[in-house]
Amino acid sequence: MNETMTDPMSILREEGLDETLISDAAAFRKEHGAADADRIPVPRFFYYGKDIWRKALAALLEGENLLLAGPKATGKNVLAENLAYVLGRPCYTVSFHLNVDAATLIGADTYNGREVVFRDGPVTRCAKEGGFCVLDEINMAKNEALAVLHSVLDYRRVIDLPGYERIEVDPACRFIGTMNYGYAGTRELNEALCSRFALLQMPVIGQEELTKLFDHTFPDMNRDVRDQFGALFLDLEKKAEHADISEKAVDLRGLLDAIRMIRRGLTAGEALEMTITDKTFDSYERKLVHDVIAARIPEDMTAKEVFPNA
């Protein structure tokens, strides 16, 4: 858990953001208040990357919706959560899949025992509450299913339900889409939808950001071991980029989980097998992933070496 997540603005200062932007963010928080404080996320990880922070905040403060595009493990969802936290908005996440339709997003008729009523979907609820709606893996759904969002996302900012009242989207409400090109099942977003977002290409995490992430997450970790875990992640990423292995093994969450499990008593070999190697189901690919790990982290490494002061 990141101990610094108490003061949202301190995060931005730590990243070296311009004071004007920080005060604008603080003003946004103050102006809109929090409708549903329980839904304001407290992120487990902090997003590192000054430029991305600058661009994302500037876009959201200007009333834009954001589309975060990038490969696996670039922190798209982490950033979305961090933005909601920093700007103090409740967060609603919709995971997209092939069968997502208008009813899933907006809501549908339901029977309450006496009469047929409309039950809000996550988009409607978020629009009413002025929250941040994370449309996760937005390009997994069919474009036709997303047409219902057009009026919500553009200048009209309304949800017009036939037979029901017209819902105005709260001024604090923002939509943050995430997408990864090239995943199985993903498709190209159509122009109509794309034009309703400001697009942010998420960079691949670098050595410096990894070091910060490890330091924040495991402050008591041995520095040399930390560097080797960081190098391991970059090795896996490079290998996936070259299509030697699939992206399944490029799993930053898995790597952090492995370190936790080492602290809990597993050897590095056992932990990494569970959280990285065995996530690829092809036996040959598993051997390749195993080779990458074997050239960085000793299989028999224990908590004593990773956390020498514990």
Binding site: D235, K239, D291, A295, P298
Partner: protein, 580 residues
Amino acid sequence: MITRQYTTAQKRALSQVGNGAGRYDINPPFLALTPAGEPELYLNTLIGLSIRWLDQTALAAFFASYGDDPRQQDLDVIVWLGLENCLYEKELPHRPILSKMRRDYAAKFRGSANNLSRQQMMAMSAQVFTQRKARWEHVLGKESTLLPGERKLFGELMVPGSFTTDEVIERLRNVLATSFHVRFHDGTDDGKRRITPRMADVLSKILYRETRQRDSLLVRNGDSNAPAGKSRVLERGRRVQVQDERDGAYIRGIFGKPLYTDHEMDILNNELCQGDDAYCHLYIAGSRPGEGSESDREVAKVLADMEAQEKKNKAFYEKNALAAASGIRSLAAQLDTILATYASPLPERSVSGRLEAPLAYRLALFQDPMVFTRPGDETEKHIRIDLLLDASASRLRAQEMIAAQTVVLAKSLLSVHVPVRVLAFRSLRGYTVLQCLKGYEEKDTSGIFRYFASGWNRDSLALKTVGRLILSDDPSEEDAHVLFVLTDANPDDSTHIPGEGTHLDEEYEGAAAVRDTADAVHDLRKKKIRTLALYLGSTAHVDNLHLIYGNTDTAVRNLETLSSRVADLLSGALTQADGT
């Protein structure tokens, strides 16, 4: 496009090299595999580290500079021992696990060295083995007892990590020159030839040695192209003159430029000129003859003979034009029937047959029974045919007939829209030359008249090469492939088969050549290339024919009998393969 093919273990070794190098767009000059064929993690990581830390162009030039030494395998071991320490020291601060990997490898070496048999010990270079043993014992914390000279060499091979590429090479060059009396071929020692940076760059891409920790030797396996004019060193250290510059010029003068790039030809040579064909060289040319050279009268004479033969082939065909036309009509009609029968039917929806799961809901929801598929009336056919013509001197008396029969075959196949390629093969001066007389896409069959007979015939190598080309052209293996070999079933070549172990080389003729060719045919059939023989001429070698091709052969005496024989063969092959 011909690309190098790796086995699964080699691919994994390549991946390990990439891990060490930190990049994957590489073609490393070495790969390390254990005796069991498994990739050796530590050595492959080192090979990768050499790419990360050292200048590959300079290193490739250094490896090439002693590439023709009969002790090259031993020298490689010594050079890598030197590189090992240097790379280890360079990388250790960035990769602490390297010390553990090094110790693990040393322990593995100690285990394997203790289990060596007397014969294995005798097969090794004592000097090299001593150095290896001393290095790995040192890594495990134990110092070996060495003679003063050995101690000095041991110290020199502990190349410090602070050295630059030039310093490393200089140190190792001195070691090889003083302790092993190596004469280098880059102009620094005897001034014979200097390897330019550009040449070294090419070498670094194509030079390929696979190191196997077998006993104490690093064995060069699947070795590549030494530069032009250089001798190749085979596994047991024999020197064989393979690519004499004059022979190369002779072949190029007669057959023109190769159809493939030099790099592609290198890949084919490395892959196919192995085992029994290790002394051979491949050359694949188009149908147009070379330009010869004014100074080479031999080439000029061959070119004149080729031109005269082309005229004779055309004259013979024109003289038999009626029989040929009739043959084409008859064969085309039969082929059409055979192909129509063979063609696979496209599925259509029906009320019975194979259930199509995505449609199943229609049965329950709409009571629609059309949720099954069955073979329909519409069909799809994809067949490619290759004709491989024996063009050795034994066919001298039948050249016109063979050219005419091939034209009839090719035209018949073209008329039923089956892509057909025609290749002729013969061996000259150690080169097995495949001449492409007609490509798959060409409509013009006149190139076939350039068929001429000369030299020897190494059927096995020609068959292996055609198989490789067929699979390169259709990597998805979607098409059905049929290979007709027009042969006299008498493989015979002047280039010997290398002997195994202490055995002497063997002549490529008689039982050995037949066995080799039969193996090649067997391999082609395993790769689903339907290989059929058309037997032309005398019946002196009919036994060979059955031994090589089994019962799938047929004799053709003249143009009239060609169509029925070919139709029977093709029909049999297609129906048998499909089990229909």
